[in-house]
Symmetry: C3
Subunit: 428 residues, 3 copies
C-alpha cells in the first residue's frame, strides 16, 4: 500500500510532464509508475487499425509561445503546457490581434483559468490563456511560434496483471493523456496505482486483477480491440478510475445493464456502509472510457466509481484543476474502497443447502445456532436462518443480504461457518 507521502511524490513527478494521446510525456509517465508496480509497457505503431479508428501520428512540442507588440512573451508552453492547444500543428508567422483572436481560447466564466483544449483529429493550432490576460491584449502585430512535430511513431499503453486463484478477472482502467490536470487525470492514475499496489501485496486474491493505463478513448479502444476475446472470456467486472480526488460523497455510474456483478457489489457495499454516501447514476453515453467498454458490441460489465465527476466541479478542464483542489486522503480512501468492494465481490458465492428438506437438526452443527427463541437470537443466528431457507444454488449472497436486510459481512461469515460444517456446498 502506498503512503500519503508516496502518492504526493508521484503526483509531483507526473505534474509537469506534457501528456497527450501520444509522445514522450506519456512514456515518461508510465516509466515513473513502473517504479511502483511492474508495468508491462508497449507501443502501438501509428496507423494501426483499431475497430473504426487508427492510431494517430505521434506529437512532439519543441517550443510554443507568442510575442506581443511590446516584445513580451505570452502563452509560453514551457511555463504551462495547457497554453498550447494539445496536438497543435506547426506554425510560425506574424498576425494582427484580429487575425490572432480566433486562435485564442479563454473561459470567461472562470476569468483567471487557462482552459484545456485539444485538436486531436483536426489539423489546426491554437493557444489557451486566461480571460483576464486576453482582455489586456492590445492592438498590434503578434509573432507566433508553434514549433511542434507530428510524425509516424507510436502510442504508449501499459497493463499489469495480478494473478489470483481464479483466472476470472477484475479490471481497473485509467487514462494518461491530460497534461497538468489533477482531478481529471492524476487522481485516477494515483488511485489505480494505489489499488494495484495494495492488491499486489496480498496473497489471498481469489480473482485476478488487471490494471490498464492508456490514453483516453483511442487508448481504451486500442486496448479493447487488441484484447477483446480475452476480456470477453475473463472479465467479471471493472471500474474506470477517474475524478476520484475530492473528499465528498461517491458517485457511481453503472455498467450498461445496471445489474452486473460489479454494479451489485457497489450497491451492496454502500448499502452496508452507512458512513459513505453514494449517488447512483445509470449508464449514459457521456463520460470516460466506460463508453468504450459498454459500447453495444463490446458490452463488458464496467462501471465508474468516482467522487465528484467531470463537469460537476467548476475547475474541470482548466488550470485550476490542480494540486490545490485534490485531497490525498480522498485518494487513499477511494483506493481502500475499491479494494473493499473487490474483496466483497470475492466473497459473493452461490451456495446450496445440503439439507433442503425441512430445517436441519441444528444441534448437530456446532456453534451455529445459539438460541432458537427469536427474541434472543444473535445476529449470526438470524443470518444462519436466512441462509438455510434461501441458499437454493441460484441466489448469491448479495441477493440474500438484500432480501433479509442483514449486513453482507454477517451473511458471509455465517455462510462460511455453515460451509465448513457441511450445511452448505458451493456452486460454480
Amino acid at each position: 500500500m502506498l503512503s500519503l507521502q508516496e502518492l504526493e511524490k508521484v503526483f509531483d513527478a507526473l505534474w509537469f510532464l506534457n501528456r497527450s494521446i501520444t509522445g514522450d510525456g506519456v512514456r515518461e509517465t508510465h516509466k515513473i509508475l513502473s517504479n511502483y508496480i511492474p508495468l508491462n509497457t508497449y507501443e502501438v505503431p501509428t496507423g494501426t487499425k483499431v475497430f473504426d479508428w487508427s492510431v494517430p501520428r505521434e506529437w512532439k512540442v519543441n517550443q510554443a509561445y507568442i510575442i506581443d507588440p511590446d516584445g513580451k512573451k505570452l502563452c509560453d508552453f514551457s511555463e504551462n503546457n495547457l497554453h498550447l492547444v494539445n496536438y497543435s500543428i506547426p506554425f510560425q508567422g506574424k498576425l494582427t490581434l484580429n487575425e490572432l483572436r480566433p486562435r485564442l481560447h479563454t473561459m470567461p466564466e472562470l476569468p483567471s483559468a487557462i482552459p484545456y483544449k485539444t485538436s486531436y483529429y483536426r489539423e489546426t493550432w491554437g493557444f489557451c490563456l486566461s480571460f483576464d490576460q486576453y482582455n489586456c491584449l492590445k492592438e498590434g502585430i503578434y509573432e507566433v511560434v508553434v514549433d511542434t512535430e507530428l510524425f509516424v511513431g507510436s502510442m504508449t499503453i501499459s497493463d499489469f496483471l495480478i494473478e489470483g486463484e481464479s483466472d476470472k478477472e477484475i479490471l481497473v482502467h485509467t487514462y494518461t493523456c491530460h497534461p497538468s490536470l489533477a482531478i481529471n487525470e492524476l487522481s485516477g492514475v494515483l488511485v489505480t496505482l494505489a489499488t494495484a499496489s495494495a492488491l499486489a501485496s496480498r496473497s489471498d486474491n481469489y480473482y485476478s486483477y488487471r490494471f490498464v493505463f492508456a490514453p483516453e478513448t483511442i487508448g481504451a479502444i486500442t486496448y479493447i480491440s487488441q484484447n477483446f476475446e480475452h476480456l470477453k472470456a475473463s472479465l467479471i467486472g471493472g471500474l474506470i478510475s477517474t475524478c476520484v480526488g475530492h473528499d465528498k460523497e461517491y458517485q457511481y455510474k453503472s455498467s450498461r445493464s445496471g445489474e452486473s456483478l460489479i454494479d451489485r457489489a457497489i450497491k451492496c457495499y454502500f448499502t452496508r456502509n452507512s458512513s459513505k454516501e453514494l449517488i447512483w447514476k445509470e449508464f449514459s453515453p457521456s463520460g470516460s472510457d466506460e463508453r468504450q467498454y459498454c459500447s453495444l458490441g463490446v458490452n463488458l460489465p464496467v462501471g465508474s466509481l468516482m467522487r465528484t465527476p467531470y463537469h460537476q466541479y467548476p475547475e474541470y478542464h482548466t488550470s485550476l484543476d490542480n494540486k490545490n483542489i485534490i485531497s490525498f486522503d480522498a485518494l487513499l480512501e477511494t483506493s481502500n474502497t475499491y479494494v473493499e468492494v473487490f474483496k466483497l465481490l470475492e466473497e459473493n458465492k452461490v451456495y446450496q443447502s445440503t439439507t433442503p428438506y425441512c430445517e436441519p437438526f441444528m444441534s448437530n452443527y456446532d456453534g451455529l445456532y445459539f438460541n432458537k427463541d427469536h427474541r434472543f437470537a444473535s445476529d449470526l443466528t438470524k443470518a444462519v436462518k436466512w441462509l438455510i431457507h434461501f441458499c437454493d444454488g441460484k441466489s448469491d449472497l448479495f441477493s440474500i443480504s438484500e432480501k433479509s436486510g442483514l449486513d453482507i459481512y454477517l451473511i458471509v461469515e455465517a455462510a462460511k461457518k455453515m460451509h465448513s460444517c457441511g450445511l452448505l456446498k458451493t456452486i460454480d
Copy 2:
C-alpha cells in the same frame, strides 16, 4: 385539410338527419361525407350473421307524436328526432296519462334536456321529453302515433383506404348512428373526415390509412367480422374517434395491452408536447367500438384518443349535446394531433449501429459530432451519442427517447442523419 368553415358546414348538413343503426339517415350521412373523401359505401343485408350477432331489420320513421287532452301536439319527431325512442315499433292508440307514463323517458337531473334512448333489440316503443315538460302533463286521454316501419333491408357502412408506401395500416374508426348529438356523434365523424382529408392530400405517407364509418357496436362487429383476416395481418394500430369536440385536455383509453405501438406513440407524443395535457386510462370494457377491436379473440391494437369522454360531461346522451358545446377549433386541433401522432409513428424505426465495437471515429462522419466536450455538446450531439450506444437492432426510437429523456423529434433527426452517413442501418 378541411377549414373551420367546411367543418361547420358539414356539421349543419348532418345535424338533422335521423341516424340510427340502419336506414336512410345513415345513407344520407355517408353520401354527404363522400363529397369530401372518396368513400367506399356498401350495404349489409338484414339477417347477415356476424359473429354472435345478425344484422337487424331496417328502421324507418314516417311520423311520431302525441296529442294531449287539450289537442296540443307533443314529442313531435319532426321537431326533434330525439323525441322518439330510437327503433320504436309501430303503435297507434289512446292511453290515459297513467298508461302513458311508463312509455315516457325524462332526465330529472337535467330537467330541460330531452334524453336520448334506444330500443334496438327489444320490440317496444317510447317517447323522450324534458322533465320540465313531463311535469306539466295533465290527466286525460292521450293519442299516440308511432308511424314507423321495420323491414328486411340493409345496414350502411363506408370505408376509405389511403395507400402508403407500406401495406401495413393505421385505422381511424368512427360511428354514424346517433341522431342530433354533437360531441357524442358528429365530433368523431368530423375529426375522422378531417384526418382522412389531411392524410389524403399528402404524398409521403409511409403507412396506409384506413377510415371506417359504421353504426356503433353492430357496425363495428360487422366490419371486423367481414375484414378480420385482413385487419389481423395489416393493422399496426388504430384509434376510435369519439367525444373529440371539447377544447379541454386529451384523454386516451389504451388498447388491450396498453403497450402496443399506438399506445407508445401516444405516450411519446404527449410526453414531448408539454402544451397538451393527456389523461391516460387503461383499457376497460365500457366505452365505444374499441370494445370490439380489443375483444378477446380479435385483440387488435386499437385505442381511443378523446377529449372529454362519454359520461364525463353532463350533456351526454341528451338534446343539450348540441352545437352550443362543441368547439370547431378543438375538432381541427384534435385532427392535427391524430395526424402528428401517426406521422411520429411512421418515424419510429428500429435501427442497428454499423460500428458496434467501441464508438465510431466521428471525424469521419460529417456534420454529426460538433463538440466532444459534454458541456458544450449540442442537443443533436447528445442524441447521436445515445443512438450510438442504444441502436441495438431491437430498441425502437420511442424507447431510446424515453431512456435518454431526449425529445423524440431530435432523436428522429439524429437517427436520419446517422442513417444517411452510414452509421445506422434499418431493421425491419
Copy 3:
C-alpha cells in the same frame, strides 16, 4: 360449528395437561379433540429418522419441585407445569443458592411472570419462576427433586381429512406441544378444531380439507417427511394456525413465493372485506411450522394467518399467556375467516369465453345484461362486461377482480350466471 361455550369447555379441558413434544399430555390432548372431530391419531416411535432429524425419547414427569432452606416447597410442577424446564432430565440433590441460580430462569422485564423454557435437545434440567419470587430467595441449602423419565417410546400425531369433490387439498396445521399457554398454543388448536368442525358439517366442499395436530418443528418435520409425495401432489394451499386469540387486526405471513393461490386468496378476501384489517408480511425464516412447509426442498404453498403473532404481545412464552388475554369471540371469528377464505378459493375458477370474437349478443342471454348505458349499469352488468373481455382461459377470477376493482363475490356471481347460460366454459 362449535359454539363459544364448547370452545371454552375444550380450552379448560386442555389447559392443565402437561404437553411437550412427546408424552401422555399430548395423547390426552388429541383424545379430547377427537370427541369433536374423528381424528386419525398415530404414534411415531422414538428413533424414527425424519429427514435430518430423528424422533426423540418420550418424556414423563412424576414430580418436580424445590424445598427452600425454610422447608417451603417452591416451583412445584403440580401447581404449574411451566415451573419445570420442559424435557428436564432427572436430578435429585442438595445445592446452595449459588449452585442453584444457573438452573433458575426468570423474566425480569415481566417480574410476575413464570417464563416458558425447553431443553429438548440438550440434556439438562432447570426451573422457571417469577422474577419477584426469585428476588426473595435466601441463602442456604435447597433440596431439588426432578423426578422425570426419558425412555424409548413414541411421538403422537393426528390428522383428519374431509374429502371434497376434488382430491386437491387445503391444509390447516397446528401444534400441540406447549403446556398451559393460551394464545401461543390453544388458540391455534381451537381455531383448527372449529374450522374442521365447520367444514365437516358442509356437504358442498369442492376441495378436500386436511387438518394436522402435531408437536411444533419435530412433529411438522415428521408429518411432511412421511407424507411428502402425497402433499406435493395434492396440496394447493394451507395455513399454519397459531396466535389467533387476540381480537385485533389480522396478520398474514405469506408462503415462500408470496404469490401462491392461498396468498392471493387472502389478499383478495381482505381487500374486499374492508371491516377486517390485514397486515401482510413476506415469508421469513423465523416463525412456526411454515418454516418446514416452506423450506427449500419442500416448498409447499403454506402461509400463516394470525391475529397478533409471537413476540408481538408481551405475555408471549410466559404464564401470563393465559385465559385472561384470549378472546373466544376472536377464535370463532378467525375460524369463520378461515372458512370464508377457503370457500372463496373454491370459487376462484379459470373461465374461457365461448364468444371471444367481439362482444356476445347479450339479448340472447337472459337476465345478464340489464342496461347498456354505462351510467345506469348495475354492478352485475359491470362484472359481466369485465368477464366478457378478460375470461381468456388463463386469468382466474382473483386476477379479474383485482384488474377491474370489482368485488370478488360479484365477479363470482356474474361468472356463474354466464357459465350457466353458456357464455363461459371452465378450464382445468
